[in-house]
C-alpha cells in the first residue's frame, strides 16, 4: 500500500478552519501522524474513517465548534417537530438547485470547459483578411508559418468522408474528418494512445497516406481492435494506413469532436478537387501557439507585419488600403475567441433564468422560515431573557438556514443527475459531448446551496433575533404576534413570487404557442414526399454539367417520380446562404434559396402571386427573385410587390446588384432559422458554382424510388457516389427542437408556479391562524361566512395582484429577448399573456380559498373565552 506522506487535502482544510488557536500546529501534526500510521497498518478505509472521527471530535471539543453543532442539532429537532413547512421549503429549494446545477453543467460542458489540448491558454486563432474568420489561403499560411517567430502556426480544414474498414465497405453516414498540417497534432498535444500520431513528415508531398482516429471512433467503428493499427482503412474509397489512436484527452480547438485526422498531403487522394501546395489558393483555418512568454499583442504585431508583405496582400500600390492587421484570439475554450462576448451573454441568459427560479425558491423558503420565526418569538424571547446574545440567536437561525440549504443542495444535486440528460436533449448538442459533473459543478452547487440557505434565513433571522424582549415576555399570545414588519416582509415575498412566476408562465405560454403554431402550420411544404439526392463527382476529369443534365432526364423517367428539381441544397441542408437587401433605406437579411424552375412544384410551395422562375431566367441567371409571403407583407404592406426591386447590399463580388420581384411564394421553413418571420428569397440556381446541385425528387413514396434512382445514376457514370435522404427526417429534428424548448419552458414555469402558489398558500394559512381570534369576534358580532371569506381572499390576493402587474410589465419588456425563439407569433401575443395571467390568478384563488374557509369554522365561543 502506498504510504501517504501527509493528510488528505480536505482534512488539512477542515483542520485549518477548526478553531484551535495556538494548538493548531501540534494537533494537526498529531492527527496526521496517527493517520499515516493507521493508513500503513490497517489500510486507507480505516484510516480515513478514523480521521473523520478525529476531526469531528476536535471540532466538538472546541467551544465555538461545539455551539455550531448544537445549533444544528437544535435545528434538526425543530424540523422533526414541524416537518411540513420545512419539507416544502427544502423541496422547492432542491428543485431549483437541481435545475440550476443541470443548467450550469451544460453551460460548463458546452462553453466554459477548455478545449482538450495541452496548455489551452497559449493556443490562438489567427484572424486576418476579412476580419471575421481564421481563414487563410494555404499559400499565405505556408508563408506565414515559415516567417513567424513568435507564434507557431498550423492549419486545419474540416471535411466529411465516408469511412470503410474494408475496400468494398462504406459507412452509411458521412463522418467528420480534419485535414491538418503536419505539425498540428504535435503543436496542440494530440499524442497517440496507441501507435503514433501525425508527424510533419506525413504532410510532405509523396508521403505514404496515413490517418489517425480518436479513441471513441476506434471503439465504435473498429471494435477497439489493436490489430487495426498499421492496417488500411478506406476514406471515400481511397486506401489510407491507420497509424494510431489518439489519446482521449485530446480534441483540439473544435466544438464537435473530430473522429479522424489526416494530413493535407492526402487531400487529393481522399477528397480531390483542391490542392495544397505553396502556391495553392485553397482555404484553411489557421491556429497558432504563442511561444513561451510572448504576449498576444506582440505576436499580433509580428503577424500583421508579415501578413502585410504577403504577395496576395492588397498593398498601398493599388490605391487600396493596406492589409488589415492580423488579430489573435484565445482558443482556450469554446467561449473564448472573438465571439466570447456573445457566448458569455448566452450563458448568462441561461443562468439568469435559473437564477430567477433560485431566487423564487429562496423567497419561498424565507417565507416559510419567517412564519416559523414569528411563532418562535416566544422561544427566542425566553432565550434572550436567559442571557443569550442576539448574535447567538441570529447565528442559530442562520445555521438552520445553512443546514436547510445544504440538505436542499444535496437533494438538488441528486435531482440534477437525472435532469441533465433530459436537458441535454432539449438543447441540440452533439451526441458525443461529454456532460459530466466535474469539480467546478460541485463547487458551484455547494456555493449556490449555502447562499440559498443563508439568503432564505437572513430575513427571518433578523426578524427573529430583533424582537423586543419585554413585549415577548409580557405577551400572553400563544401564537406569538404578527407584527406589521413581518407581515410586510411576507406580503412582499408573495408579490415578488407572483411577479416572477407570471413572467415565467407567459414565457412558457409563448413558447408553447410557438410549438403549436409550428406543428399545426408545419414547415409549409410537402416534407414526406421529397427525397434529396446528392451526387458526389469523382476526382478524375468529369463533365459535371453534362452528367447533371442526363441524370435529371434519367430521374424523371423513373416510374412514380412526379417532378424533379435542382437546388443548391436540400431544405434543412448544411448550406445557409444569407444576403442583405435594402428596402426603404433599411437593410434586411434574407435567407436565399437557389433553385431551378421546378423547385416550387417539387416541394409543394404555392406561388400565391406573380409567377415562378422560368427556365430562360434560370439559364441566364437573371436578377429576378420570388419572396416569401411574410417578407412581402413586412416589406410591402398593402402594396403589390410584383415588379418592385430589392437592392442587394452585399454580394460575393462586393458589387451591388438589384433584383426584380416576379412572384410571392407561400411561407415555408426551409432553413435552420429561428427568426420570427421566415424571410425567404428564391433566386435562380447558379450553375457555375463548383459543387454539384442537389436533386430534389417528388414521389408519392419517395423511399421506394431511392434505390432505382441510384441505380440509374450509376449507370450513367459508375464513378459518382449517390446519397439520398428523406427531407422529412431533418425537418422532424428541427421541429422537435421547438417542442423541446416549449417543454423546457413549461417545466421551468411549472416550478415557478408551484413555488408561487405554495407561497401564497403558506402565507394565507399563517395569517388566517394568526387572525382566528379576530375572525371569532367578527362572527360573534354577526359576520357571515361569506363576509369572512371575501375579506380574507381580498386581503390575501392584494400582494398577488400587485406582483402580477409587475410580472406582466416585465414580460412585455422582455418580449424582445424571447422573440428569438418565437416563430409565427408575436412576443406580445395576447392569448399567451392572458392565459399565463389567468393561470396564476386561478391558482392563487384556490390556494387562498382553503385556509379562508377553514377560518370560518372557528367557534366564536371558544375564541371569546380565550380572552
Amino acid at each position: 500500500m502506498a504510504r501517504p506522506s501527509r493528510l488528505p487535502r480536505f482534512a488539512a482544510m477542515l483542520l485549518r478552519f477548526t478553531p484551535l488557536g495556538d494548538r493548531r500546529a501540534d494537533v494537526t501534526a498529531d492527527i496526521s501522524e496517527l493517520f499515516i500510521d493507521r493508513h500503513e497498518r490497517y489500510g486507507a478505509m480505516y484510516a480515513h474513517r478514523r480521521l473523520l472521527a478525529d476531526i469531528a471530535s476536535v471540532w466538538q471539543g472546541t467551544s465555538r465548534g461545539g455551539s455550531v453543532l448544537q445549533d444544528l442539532r437544535f435545528g434538526i429537532r425543530l424540523v422533526r417537530r414541524h416537518p411540513g413547512p420545512i419539507a416544502i421549503a427544502i423541496g422547492g429549494l432542491a428543485l431549483a438547485i437541481g435545475m440550476v446545477t443541470s443548467m450550469f453543467s451544460l453551460v460548463d460542458a458546452t462553453l466554459l470547459r477548455p478545449f482538450k489540448m495541452t496548455d489551452p491558454s497559449t493556443v490562438v486563432t489567427v484572424i486576418g483578411r476579412d476580419h471575421h474568420w481564421s481563414i487563410w489561403s494555404y499559400a499565405d499560411f505556408v508563408k506565414l508559418r515559415e516567417q513567424a517567430t513568435l507564434t507557431r502556426l498550423e492549419a486545419a480544414d474540416n471535411a466529411h468522408v465516408r469511412f470503410g474498414a474494408a475496400a468494398d465497405q462504406d459507412s452509411a453516414d458521412a463522418i467528420a474528418l480534419q485535414f491538418v498540417s503536419g505539425g498540428y497534432m504535435q503543436m496542440l498535444g494530440g499524442h497517440a494512445a496507441l501507435g503514433r500520431s501525425l508527424e510533419p513528415s506525413d504532410d510532405l508531398v509523396g508521403a505514404a497516406p496515413v490517418a489517425v482516429v480518436s479513441r471513441a471512433f476506434w471503439t465504435a467503428h473498429l471494435g477497439s481492435d489493436t490489430a487495426a493499427i498499421g492496417q488500411r482503412i478506406w476514406l471515400n474509397g481511397a486506401p489510407v494506413t491507420l497509424v494510431g489512436v489518439i489519446d482521449e484527452r485530446f480534441g483540439g480547438p473544435v466544438k464537435r469532436p473530430v473522429p479522424i485526422w489526416t494530413t493535407f498531403a492526402n487531400h487529393d487522394e481522399i477528397a480531390g478537387g483542391r490542392e495544397f501546395t505553396s502556391t495553392s489558393r485553397s482555404l484553411v483555418e489557421v491556429v497558432g501557439r504563442l511561444a513561451p512568454g510572448v504576449s498576444m499583442s506582440t505576436a499580433q504585431d509580428e503577424l500583421s507585419s508579415l501578413a502585410g508583405m504577403l504577395p496576395t496582400a492588397t498593398g498601398p500600390a493599388n490605391g487600396a488600403p493596406a492589409a488589415p492587421p492580423v488579430r489573435l484570439f484565445s482558443a482556450r475554450s469554446p467561449s473564448s475567441g472573438q465571439d466570447a462576448v456573445d457566448n458569455y451573454a448566452s450563458a448568462a441568459a441561461i443562468l439568469a433564468v435559473g437564477g430567477l427560479v433560485l431566487v423564487l425558491a429562496c423567497a419561498n423558503a424565507a417565507n416559510l422560515l419567517l412564519a416559523g420565526a414569528v411563532t418562535r418569538t416566544r422561544e427566542i424571547g425566553v432565550r434572550l431573557a436567559l442571557g443569550a446574545t442576539r448574535w447567538r440567536l441570529m447565528r442559530q437561525l442562520l445555521s438552520e438556514g445553512l443546514l436547510l440549504g445544504l440538505v436542499a443542495g444535496g437533494l438538488g444535486f441528486l435531482m440534477s443527475l437525472w435532469l441533465m440528460p433530459l436537458l441535454a436533449r432539449l438543447i441540440p448538442l452533439p451526441a458525443d459531448l461529454d456532460v459530466v459533473l466535474d469539480s467546478r459543478v460541485l463547487v458551484f452547487t455547494t456555493g449556490i446551496a449555502m447562499l440559498c440557505g443563508l439568503g432564505a434565513s437572513i430575513a427571518p433571522a433578523r426578524y427573529g433575533a430583533g424582537g423586543p424582549l419585554t413585549s415577548v415576555m409580557n405577551s400572553q399570545n400563544r401564537q406569538g404576534d404578527a407584527t406589521p414588519r413581518s407581515a410586510r416582509l411576507r406580503t412582499s415575498f408573495v408579490a415578488f413570487q407572483a411577479g416572477v412566476s407570471v413572467l415565467m408562465l407567459i414565457a412558457a405560454a409563448l413558447l408553447t404557442r410557438t410549438a403549436f403554431v409550428m406543428t399545426s402550420r408545419g414547415p409549409g411544404f410537402d416534407v414526406d414526399k421529397v427525397l434529396a439526392v446528392s451526387i458526389e463527382s469523382p476526382r478524375a476529369p468529369f463533365d459535371r454539367q453534362a452528367f447533371v443534365r442526363s441524370a435529371s432526364d434519367a430521374v424523371r423517367a423513373v416510374p412514380t417520380v412526379e417532378t424533379m428539381s435542382l437546388a443548391q441544397d436540400a431544405p434543412f441542408g448544411f448550406t445557409v446562404e444569407m444576403a442583405r437587401f435594402g428596402i426603404n433605406d433599411r437593410a434586411h437579411a434574407l435567407y436565399v434559396t437557389r433553385s431551378d424552375s421546378n423547385y416550387f412544384k417539387t416541394l409543394g410551395l404555392h406561388v400565391v402571386r406573380g409567377r415562378a422562375l422560368t427556365d430562360s431566367e434560370i439559364a441566364a441567371e437573371m436578377p429576378v427573385a420570388l419572396i416569401g409571403e411574410s417578407v412581402a407583407r413586412e416589406f410591402f404592406p398593402n402594396q403589390d410587390p410584383i415588379g418592385r426591386s430589392l437592392d442587394r447590399v452585399t454580394s460575393e463580388s462586393g458589387a451591388e446588384q438589384s433584383v426584380t420581384i416576379v412572384g410571392v411564394v407561400s411561407d415555408a421553413v426551409t432553413t435552420r432559422v429561428r427568426t420570427a418571420n421566415y424571410g425567404q428569397i428564391y433566386r435562380p440556381l447558379n450553375s457555375t458554382r463548383a459543387d454539384a446541385p442537389v436533386m430534389l425528387v417528388r414521389a408519392a413514396r419517395p423511399l421506394l424510388v431511392a434505390r432505382a434512382i441510384e441505380k440509374r445514376l450509376l449507370a450513367i457514370d459508375p464513378r459518382v457516389r449517390v446519397t439520398s435522404a428523406l427531407v422529412g427526417r431533418e425537418v422532424e429534428a428541427y421541429f422537435e427542437g421547438t417542442r423541446f424548448r416549449a417543454i423546457l419552458a413549461i417545466a421551468i414555469a411549472a416550478v415557478a408556479f408551484l413555488l408561487a402558489i405554495l407561497g401564497v398558500y403558506g402565507v394565507t394559512a399563517f395569517v388566517v391562524s394568526q387572525r382566528s381570534h379576530e375572525v371569532g369576534v367578527r362572527i360573534a358580532v354577526g359576520a357571515t361566512a361569506a363576509n369572512i371569506i371575501t375579506m380574507l381572499v381580498r386581503q390575501s390576493l392584494r400582494p398577488v395582484l400587485l406582483g402580477l402587474a409587475c410580472g406582466v410589465f416585465a414580460a412585455l419588456l422582455a418580449g424582445q429577448l424571447l422573440a428569438v425563439f418565437l416563430a409565427g407569433i408575436s412576443p406580445y401575443d395576447p392569448i399567451a399573456i392572458t392565459s399565463g395571467t389567468a393561470a396564476l390568478v386561478a391558482g392563487a384563488v384556490i390556494a387562498v380559498l382553503g385556509p379562508a374557509r377553514r377560518a370560518t369554522r372557528v367557534d366564536p365561543t371558544t375564541v371569546l373565552k380565550e380572552i
Binding site: 501540534d26 501534526a29 498529531d30 501522524e33 496517527l34 500510521d37 476536535v58 471539543g61
Partner: protein
C-alpha cells in the same frame, strides 16, 4: 465539573501519561488508551481530557523542539506532575481496598 476528582476517561488518560514516562505526546496517549480499553478513542477526547487534567494540575505540558521525524512539526509534551502521581497512587489504593473487600466476601 467534578472538582479535583477524575472521570473514568480522564483517569485512563492520566494513567497513560504516567505509563509513558518520562514525557509523551498526543499520539502515544491515544494509542495507549485505545489498546488498553479496546474501544475507539478520538483525538478530540484525548485532548479534552489532557486539557482538563492540565487545568486540575495533574499534568503539565511544554512545546517540544522540531524533530525530523514528523516533517519538522513540533510536539506538545506532557508529563505527570507530583500531584498527578499522587492522584494515580490514591486511585489505585481506593480500588485495591475495594477489591480486597470483594475477595474477602468471595472467600467467605
Amino acid at each position: 465539573m467534578k472538582g479535583d476528582r477524575l472521570g473514568e476517561f480522564e483517569e485512563f488518560t492520566l494513567l497513560a501519561v504516567c505509563a509513558l514516562k518520562p514525557q509523551t505526546y498526543g499520539v502515544p496517549v491515544q494509542q495507549f488508551v485505545e489498546n488498553a480499553t479496546k474501544r475507539n478513542v478520538t483525538m478530540g477526547a484525548v485532548y479534552a481530557a489532557l486539557t482538563r487534567l492540565e487545568d486540575k494540575g495533574y499534568v503539565r505540558s511544554v512545546m517540544g523542539e522540531a524533530t525530523q521525524v514528523r516533517g519538522g512539526k513540533r510536539k506538545r509534551h506532557y508529563e505527570a506532575t507530583a500531584d498527578g502521581m499522587r492522584m494515580v497512587k490514591e486511585l489505585r489504593q481506593v480500588r485495591e481496598r475495594i477489591w480486597s473487600a470483594i475477595e474477602a466476601v468471595r472467600k467467605a
